[in-house]
Amino acid sequence: MPKLMTSRRSLLKGAAAGGLLTASPLVARFASAQSSAPIKIGFQQHATGIGAAYGRWYGRTTDAAVKAINEAGGINGRPVEIIAEDDGTDPKRGAEVVEKFANQHGTDVAFGTLFSHVVYGSAPAAGEQKMPYFVVSEGHHVASGKLNRYTLQPGITDVKSQVQAMAPYVSENLGKKVTMIFPDFAFGHDHRDFFTAAIEAQGGEVLEHIAIPPTETSFTKYFPKIPRDTEVLYHVMVGPAVLTFVKELGEFFGPSSPEIFGFIDSLEAVDLSSPGLEFLEGTYFWEGNPRYAQADQTSFDKNFRAAVGVDENGASVSDPADVSTYAHMFGCWETLHVIKAGMEAADYQGPQDRQKLIEAVEAMSDMAESDAHPQGPKVFNGKTHQVFGKQYISRVEGGKLLRVHATSIEDTLYPDEVDYTTMTF
């Protein structure tokens, strides 16, 4: 039975065992700090609701990162404690959870949100509570300037940079006449707007935009809107119906399909060997982080997989059918390491130092590929609170995703839309 590793319950048990901890050698390592009280990080987790499949893997990655950080001496000599609260993937509950972190649990920072609407719903509460809020969402919300100085996204790239970096490869290798299929909500609209502009800059064009209502469960009826002269079909879909979507796409085209380029979101946490996906052979995917271990795998990726408990196929080591959200969950790992680096740079002692922490993170720029950043090197933009990094394109070969292209970080950059550092705290 799949079980959430980070549950408040298990943490409470952990706290009860805290008495044992004092007797353990771990404590000696933390003892040098001025205070050996743990740094509390509130983890806003999608444990229930539509985001639960992501939330589970975000939880596993977070647990693994905290274990790694604590084994290496914690932050400023203090151990890290995760306090997970379920937000039900709901923006209202999200805001309540942030307030709970601030006023009930007294966490130092809040972290971990994935779904954009929950980020939007929670960010005002974070700003009002003056709670540093590190999101792992890949939304364009932070960099668009719509949020506030307390909200940052230092561990995962945003959809605008991902999408625009795909256009050169798509137009050069797959075709210039593109039809896009995307969910008819804000995340899909970001794809529509940013990719359309980017492919036009490459001399290509989008023939048709097909926006699917998010409540939809069957898709074939929309596919006839794909124009006949389409060279590339660009798809991105999220939610529990993604597998249906991809399967029906295959059944629709049969043997004569255009080139197909998708965002792995359409198949995140889905086994590529699921029945009906055979037609994906030879199609292309954006991947935030290659799910299958590549031939030139770095030691960092190897260590990351081992720490989280993911095998070379991107599935749980204990259950090969339990496929991870590999393209996104590294963001939790990297974000926690950024929090650590920021707290150490700011000599963070407690909530009174939250502003210093934000300023310290804003001062960051280059992040080298390392055990702290296993997905690849990154550049953080302190003004927009957004990190930029390499993107990967993989092709399905022999039922596995084989990386065929890595963008440069420069491909993903775009002009700043905001300068948070000029805003007051």
Binding site: G49, R56, A211, P213, E216, K221, P240, S256, P275
Partner: protein, 308 residues
């Protein structure tokens, strides 16, 4: 795609949706008609059917067909047992009071959803279809040599989708016969017409209610097993069929089997066909509005009798 083939494809897709919807809605209609209970948890019995189908299919493993056939038999029984237990433990004690049963079934909905999340997990899990051949469909066209057959791009269905339509039709016909010919069908209809008189004639109304509640859940679960090779089992999958079934039951007219089937066809098909003409979300809005207005101007439903 040209207009003609597009319409044909949308119609076929609509028919698959309508077939599954008709079965699910029939279960709801039965419960609603006989017991006057608004079963908000009906969608969860549908979900339960899909989840059990996944467990059965992945346990038996070997050939997709064995797992599927086993699931067709086991899943409805499981759903029926759970439903009858819920009836005995909760609904019966509420004396089937309309408002109280709404709250109680919302509670049951939460319980079933959370149990599925804990026992089954948050992922969408597929079940392999017993057979699934892509069938390209031809279209006719006036060419230079008169009428000519050709195969438009994308105009296709699968053998499994056709099977779903056939299976649902068979169940519906069987059920109609069961209602009109069998003794239990007669008892159900009698209870539906007048509970007091049925009691007076010695019909064990409570046992009938229990069986009806189980039968309703079994129908939903059966529909789910049919759909799960096309869509996937997911712990939140019950919401959509619940809403649609409600709409079908009301549009069709209370307790009318024919009405339920016609309404399921109307709603399943209109969803597909309107999508030919408008952008997808706009199509959904218009289809929803259309159905709402049908109800507004014909509140008793298509086949219902006007109630005083």
């Amino acid at each position: 795609m040209e207009f003609g083939p597009h319409l044909l494809l949308a119609t076929l897709e609509g028919a698959v949706g309508a077939a599954v919807l008709a079965l699910t809605a029939l279960g709801l209609s039965l419960v609603f008609g006989v017991m006057r209970v608004v079963n908000v948890a009906h969608g969860e019995f549908y979900m339960l059917g899909a989840v059990v189908a996944w467990f059965v299919a992945s346990t038996l493993g070997s050939a997709p067909a064995t797992g599927f056939v086993a699931a067709l038999l086991i899943a409805p029984v499981c759903a029926a047992v759970v439903a009858m237990a819920a009836d005995r433990l909760v609904l019966k004690r509420l004396h089937y009071d309309p408002e109280a049963t709404i709250v109680a079934t919302i509670g049951i909905l939460y319980i079933m959803q959370q149990t599925a999340l804990m026992g089954f997990g948050p992922e969408a899990r597929p079940v392999a279809p017993p057979f699934n051949t892509r069938i390209a469909l031809p279209w006719v066209e006036w060419g230079e040599n008169g009428l000519a057959l050709f195969y438009p791009w994308g105009l296709s269905t699968t053998s499994y989708k056709l099977f779903v339509i056939a299976a649902a039709a068979a169940i519906l016909i069987g059920f109609a016969l069961f209602l009109s010919r069998s003794r239990f069908g007669l008892i159900m209809r009698a209870t539906q017409l007048d509970r007091e008189t049925a009691l007076a004639f010695g019909i064990p109304v409570e046992r009938v209610y229990s069986l009806v509640f189980g039968l309703g859940a079994a129908l939903a679960a059966f529909a789910a097993v049919l759909i799960v090779p096309i869509q996937q089992a997911h712990y939140l999958m019950g919401a959509d069929p619940l809403l649609l079934s409600f709409i079908v039951v009301i549009i069709g007219g209370l307790g009318s089997l024919r009405g339920t089937v016609v309404a399921a066809l109307l709603i399943g098909m209109s969803d597909g066909i309107i999508s030919v003409f408008f952008s997808p979300t706009l199509a959904k809005i218009l289809a929803t509005l259309l159905v709402a207005l049908v109800l507004v101007f014909r509140p008793q439903g298509l086949y219902g009798k006007k109630r005083a």
